[in-house]
């Protein structure tokens, strides 16, 4: 599999997608002479996606058949996977729109009954995909909400502060309580602070456990038990207690993030530092290596793959910790606070926007750890 093949796949899929959309748009316009334009566009999108996935599936089928029908070296796995993922994603989006109709239809019918008018199917679809407080907002509504609460909000604030000094305007825009970026930043900073501390302490404890039998015997069982109990339940109490002793804002959330990432790191690091086998340790003995030398030259490098595995778990746990922390001290803001706020007002769009941003944050965090892992492993020679 090389880049050109992947590129080819992307181009083919894109062309396919665009042509499907165009065909679908024509079909919809032709079928419904009049009606709301937004509905037509969306119906065309859905139809396009469905045509696209159908054609895609057909192409993949016939293509694999063609590949297998001749004696050829390995079928192209990566392109196949790529198309498969694309297919599943489009199906998920199609289902999402379908569920939006199902879940929001009652409210649309209610409005119609109260207003005393009949709903045609296309009007029903138009309504369910554009309600203010839908039970399930459509992806484009969520995207619109995210844009409204980030870009548009920033632009509005920028206009409102017209006349202030430049730097002050920037800081006002960044500090805008209505702006989702600020909330995401609050969550991210608590997550990172907690993650760094949790990981550092976790590694230290793991080193202690590996080198001290008494510590191994007494502490390790508790660390393992901590993996089976819902330590996240401690979050509200930690916030309240730290607030009572005068700590508020970032620190309590970071504390929760820290202890959530701490335990996976301890478990992973202990495993990693113990990963050298007895032959490798004997070898060190034959060279009369000191404990420190064994640690720096053998145990620590050998633990790197284990460390990264637990870092990925740890960073995801840290984010969850920060968000749950924000549920308890919502006045400070953060993505968790936005979710709670949306929950109070029944504003589903706010919840979904915060949720998607949180998911994106998690994806970015986990994949940056993954990237660091790949780079480090490559430089250390663990992988080609």
């Amino acid at each position: 599999m090389d880049v050109s093949q992947l590129l080819f796949g992307v181009i083919v899929s894109t062309v396919l997608l665009i042509s499907s959309l165009i065909i679908a748009a024509f079909a919809v316009l032709w079928l419904s002479g009049t009606g709301y334009l937004g509905v037509k566009v969306l119906a065309a999108a859905v139809l396009g996606v469905l045509i696209f996935s159908g054609v895609n599936a057909f192409l993949v089928k016939s293509w694999t058949w063609w590949k297998e029908s001749k004696i050829r070296p390995l079928p192209d796995k990566k392109l196949f996977s790529f198309v498969a993922i694309l297919y599943v994603v489009t199906v998920i989006f199609a289902l999402w729109y379908a569920f939006a109709i199902v879940l929001n239809k009652n409210w649309a019918y209610d409005k119609a009954t109260r207003g005393g008018y009949e709903l045609s199917f296309s009007e029903l679809v138009a309504d369910t995909w554009s309600q203010k407080k839908p039970r399930l907002p459509t992806p484009d509504q969520v995207a619109g909400e995210i844009w409204k609460s980030t870009g548009t909000a920033a632009a509005k604030k920028w206009e409102r502060t017209e006349g202030d000094p430049f730097l002050e305007r920037i800081s006002e825009v960044l500090g805008d309580k209505r702006n989702l970026i600020r909330h995401a930043w609050l969550t991210l900073s608590a997550t990172m602070l907690g993650f760094v501390f949790g990981t550092g302490l976790g590694i230290l404890l793991a080193v202690g456990i590996v080198h001290n039998r008494a510590m191994d015997n007494s502490v390790m069982p508790w660390v393992i038990t901590s993996q089976t109990i819902p330590i996240l339940a401690l979050a509200p109490m930690i916030i309240v207690v730290l607030n009572a002793v005068g700590l508020s804002g970032l620190i309590p959330k970071a504390v929760i993030s820290a202890y959530l990432s701490f335990f996976p790191v301890v478990v992973g690091m202990v495993k990693g530092l113990r990963s050298p086998d007895s032959m490798q340790l004997d070898q060190m003995r034959t060279w009369f290596a000191s404990k420190a030398q064994i640690f720096w030259k053998l145990r620590l490098p050998a633990s790197v793959p284990y460390l990264f595995t637990s870092l990925k778990i740890g960073v995801a746990a840290s984010l969850v910790g920060a968000i749950v922390g924000e549920l308890t001290i919502s006045q400070d803001g953060g993505l968790g606070a936005r979710m709670l706020q949306g929950n109070y007002y029944g504003a589903t769009l706010i919840i979904w926007a915060a949720l998607i941003v949180a998911a994106a944050l998690a994806a970015v965090l986990v994949s940056s750890v993954g990237l660091a892992e790949r780079v480090t492993k490559k430089r250390m020679g663990f992988v080609q």
């Binding site: 297919y87 879940l103 008494a214 401690l234 509200p236 109490m237 207690v241 968000i323 979904w352 949720l355």
Partner: protein, 279 residues
């Protein structure tokens, strides 16, 4: 002051004891005894330091107060346990496991779907799915149904991924052997692939057992009837009834490890042949 000195003495004794134990011949009970001594030492120190240093028991209640709260509000704790664990967690766990397992069986037959779903499943497993809780509370109401729903979506993907991977775990030679017997899909599924997948499936079930309790408790932070472990923890913390909150956390901890322990025990019985279970 004397109490704090006493705490230090207790620490020294406990740690000394553990060092002495660590120098004994390694045995089966060594680690367990050591861990228990360590735990007891910490609890006694907690009690002594809180009493000795003038930390307000409202902020950090000493263990004796927690035990007291445990004894006086057993009925509340029991009601919370039934609401959250028996209704929310167990229902959600059963439904989530069944849904994920059946989905795994369904997509297992198509290489195309597996390739499409697995990366997405892996991606979703890393997301803060718990954030779906407020939405599900809106959809399914304040009672335990919404908690069960949160549990279902939290455990769905871990079990799905593990099951799909497990179904691929039987080695090629054994699959070829099944082919030479002209075994049908279902025969080879039940006789070879499901048993070979069992260690993976149980791994998913164990991960899910902890996620389930977390999901149900956190979902209650977003809204619940006036009963439930998450409700008690969040409102108790707000009202500074921390002794009750600690008692609830103890219940959650015990329930969590018992749940995990039971799943692990079943695993041990069912996959006794696997190298990780052999002694």
């Amino acid at each position: 002051m004397t109490l704090i000195l006493a705490a230090l003495v207790v620490w020294a004794i406990g740690w000394g004891l553990n060092i002495w134990i660590s120098h004994q011949k390694p045995g089966r009970w060594q680690s367990i005894v050591s861990a228990i001594i360590f735990g007891i030492t910490l609890v006694i120190m907690w009690e002594l330091i809180v009493r000795g240093s003038g930390i307000s028991p409202v902020i950090l209640p000493p263990p004796s107060m927690i035990i007291n709260a445990f004894a006086t509000s057993t009925d509340i704790l029991a009601a919370d346990f039934i609401q959250t664990f028996m209704k929310g967690v167990l229902t959600g766990y059963a439904m989530g496991c069944a849904a994920a397992f059946l989905t795994a069986l369904a997509i297992d037959r198509s290489d195309f779907l597996k390739r499409g779903l697995l990366p997405i499943g892996n991606f979703v497993a890393a997301l803060p799915i718990i954030g779906m809780a407020p939405i599900l509370v809106m959809w399914f109401g304040f009672d335990w149904h919404s908690k069960a729903a949160v549990v279902v979506i939290m455990i769905f993907f871990p079990i799905l991924i593990n099951t799909v991977q497990g179904l691929d775990a039987a080695d090629k030679m054994q699959k070829d052997l099944m082919r030479t017997y002209a075994a049908s899909y279902w025969q080879s599924l039940f006789k070879l692939r499901l048993p070979a997948a069992a260690p993976f499936i149980f791994n998913g079930l164990k991960i899910a057992s902890t996620l389930a309790l977390i999901g149900a408790i956190v979902a209650e932070f977003f809204g619940s009837p006036i009963v439930g472990m998450g409700f008690r923890i969040s409102t108790g913390a707000g009202r500074l009834e921390l002794d009750l909150v600690w008692a609830e956390i103890v219940v959650a901890a015990v329930a969590g490890s018992a749940f995990y322990g039971i799943v692990a025990l079943i695993e041990r019985k069912a996959t006794f042949w696997h190298p990780s279970q052999r002694k």
